[in-house]
């Protein structure tokens, strides 16, 4: 046994319901199943708990299953979605270990010796991991061993072996069926009267190769750690995109929010693993009738990830739109991601006040739109109607105007009648704009209107001629 395998420790995560969980997002609810096509016939591959209780079994043809349980909902198996679900497990594992390996079709391995001290020991670490995945709708079993191939095998039966000797005892006791060999090979072995792995391993290697094939020897060597297991390390994806199908297409916002909540779980894990912060989120709602998808965009005033806030913003967005058809799936794309600095809570205040202001801006924007909130800035131009700009909140711009200006400006000067006003102060001559084709020549006056309000009016000489109301001194 090599020295490295002695010091390393691997955990295996085995998800028996992966084909089902991959195409169905949440288990409780309708009776569900997945089927696959075998020789032109759809056969049940895996059935959910409720379907199983009503007698739906793997291997049944779909029509048989529907006869047993008419309200059964079944979807075809999807290799792509199974792969994605497997990566979802890997992503959760990546939060606990830097070395993660996919073991298709249904397992993920992670090195945990290095993480031993991370969360107060291996047991809490693995329990937390299993809990996290359970919350995401992926029920996994977990095992650990000093050898990766063995960890994968022990995960199926929730066994743990933290020393080579212990591992050997565990492996020896396993029945031949636990190896998951092809049926004919397994039958050949049991046909020789071998029941347990321990008996198989005592047979001489050349003899075993002659009887059961040389591939079995390689597999056993890997299991017992006599030969290293070839491993390809898994890395989380650089860009985030996730598609989530609704269990039942719906146009109710609660159903969409429920699905989004699940998706955000996953996104949160991805961000944490990659040390990234969310600055925006694109959410595409795919319609059941394959019409034009609805695209929602959430932008965050401050990078970070706050699930409650995101859900709240999404709820506000959904409130504002009318869904033209039932929605079948959500696609989430994390828009821009930067290095993530966790928000720091104020020393004296448990409420994170430094985060509350951006949160408020986000909430207002979610309902009022991007243009719904603005700052206002002075702009260097002599023409008062061009001397202000809407800017993003928080923009600092210099302001050099020193002449008195009214509190309120009309969005555009409005023609008025000179006789309605009593001139009080002025004139202030403004001549500008000859360089950009909007030249003007005006005399501004502070005046009183009939109600006694102080107003700002001007007499224009060119391009138009006449009196205009431009502001109120409030």
């Amino acid at each position: 046994m090599s020295k490295t395998s002695r010091s390393s420790l691997w955990a295996g995560l085995y998800c028996p319901g992966l084909p089902l969980s991959a195409v169905w997002d949440h288990q409780p609810g309708p009776a569900i199943a997945v089927h696959e096509h075998q020789r032109g016939q759809a056969r049940i591959f895996q059935a959910g708990q409720r379907a199983h209780q009503h007698g739906v079994r793997p291997g049944m043809s779909l029509s048989q299953a529907l006869a047993v349980l008419p309200q059964l909902q079944s979807r075809p198996r999807s290799a792509a979605m199974e792969q994605r679900a497997l990566e979802q497990i890997a992503l959760a594992a990546y939060g606990h270990s830097h070395q993660v390996v996919l073991a298709p079709p249904d397992s993920v391995l992670l090195e945990i010796a290095g993480s031993r001290r991370l969360r107060g020991g291996l047991r809490p670490l693995l329990e937390e991991l299993v809990d996290t995945l359970n919350q995401q709708g992926l029920r996994v079993r977990c095992g650990s061993a000093t050898v990766p191939a063995a960890a994968r095998l022990l995960a199926r039966t929730n066994q743990h072996a933290h020393s080579p000797e212990h591992l050997q005892r565990r492996l020896d006791a396993l029945p031949i069926e636990a190896l998951g060999l092809p049926t004919r090979q397994a039958q050949a072995i049991t046909g020789c009267g071998l029941r347990r792995l321990g008996e198989l391993i005592q047979m001489r290697a050349p003899e075993r190769a002659r009887r059961f094939g040389s591939a079995l020897n390689a597999e056993l060597d890997q299991l017992y750690g006599r030969r290293p297991t070839p491993l390809a390390g898994w890395q989380p994806p650089e860009r985030y995109r996730q598609r989530l199908e609704l269990p039942v297409p719906s146009d109710r916002s609660e159903a969409l929010l429920f699905a989004a909540n699940r998706a955000l779980d996953h996104l949160g894990g991805w961000l944490e693993v990659r040390d990234r912060a969310l600055t925006g989120l694109h959410i595409r709602l795919e319609r059941e009738d394959s019409g034009n998808p609805i695209v929602l965009h959430l932008s965050l005033a401050r990078p970070g990830f706050d699930r409650t806030r995101l859900l709240e913003m999404l709820a506000l967005k959904l409130e504002r739109i009318r869904l033209p058809a039932a929605i079948a799936a959500l696609v989430l794309k994390a828009e821009t991601t930067l290095e993530y600095r966790p928000p720091q809570a104020d020393l004296w205040d448990n409420r994170n006040r430094s985060d509350a202001w951006p949160a408020l801006l986000d909430r207002l924007r979610a309902r009022l739109g991007e243009d719904g909130i603005n700052g206002i800035a002075a702009h260097a131009d002599h023409r008062p109607e061009r001397a202000w700009r809407w800017v993003p909140p928080g923009t600092t711009t210099p302001c050099t105007e020193t002449r008195p200006r009214p509190t309120w400006l009309l969005p555009a000067p409005r023609p008025c009648c000179r006789a309605d006003f009593r001139l009080e102060d002025g004139p202030e001559r403004i001549e500008a704009g000859w360089w950009d084709g909007h030249d003007c020549k005006r005399d501004y006056w502070v005046a009183r209107d009939r109600h006694g309000r102080k107003v700002w009016i001007f007499h224009e000489h060119q391009p138009r001629s006449g009196w205009f109301l431009h502001g109120l001194f409030s």
Partner: protein
Amino acid sequence: MSEPRSLQHLLDQRSDLWRGQRRPPAAVAASGRAELDAWLPDGGWPRGRLVELLPEYLGCGELELLLPLLADQTRHGQPVLLIAPPLVPCPQRLHRAGIALDRLVVVHGPDDALWAAEQALKSGVCGSIVTWHPRGRVDPRPIRRLQLAARASDAPAFVCYRAGQSPAPSLSALRLGLAPGPQLSLLRGDGPSRTLHLGRANVIELAARRRQTAPLS
């Protein structure tokens, strides 16, 4: 000694006895004008309470009245919100009044004005919030919600009605009528109804400022 006389005696002797008519002083924010502070029932704008402004016409001094308070808050880094203002607030005037423009946010959209105000008040992070009530009938319920939400805020909150709107009696701390001048009248609040002309004070203040900003020669 008869009972009423002994009570009177006690009241005369002890100034620290609480007497029913007088409320304990509320926490206030200075309005920035000594004259106005003296006139307001509690000696300033009440913090965490709703103040209703009823201008006779648009532009009777409703924003001008608040500029010193807003300036003080923005200079201390507190964000200030103007929600659904009827016209464009002039940045030069705001700057001149001492407001840090990068702390001032204008929220558009009169339909959502009261909702936005409630969110801002609940967040508790803002300085003062000035909301212009949407046109049309005044529904007392959202105003009541704002009164409740205002408690989460440390600053006074203002609702400014449109000319001609007559809101139902409410539980707000203060209700001020504004007429050109500007002339303030106390429509609701502690104390007898009274009026205040701010016009002359404004002129004096402006003159003083001009003197300050005039170049030395």
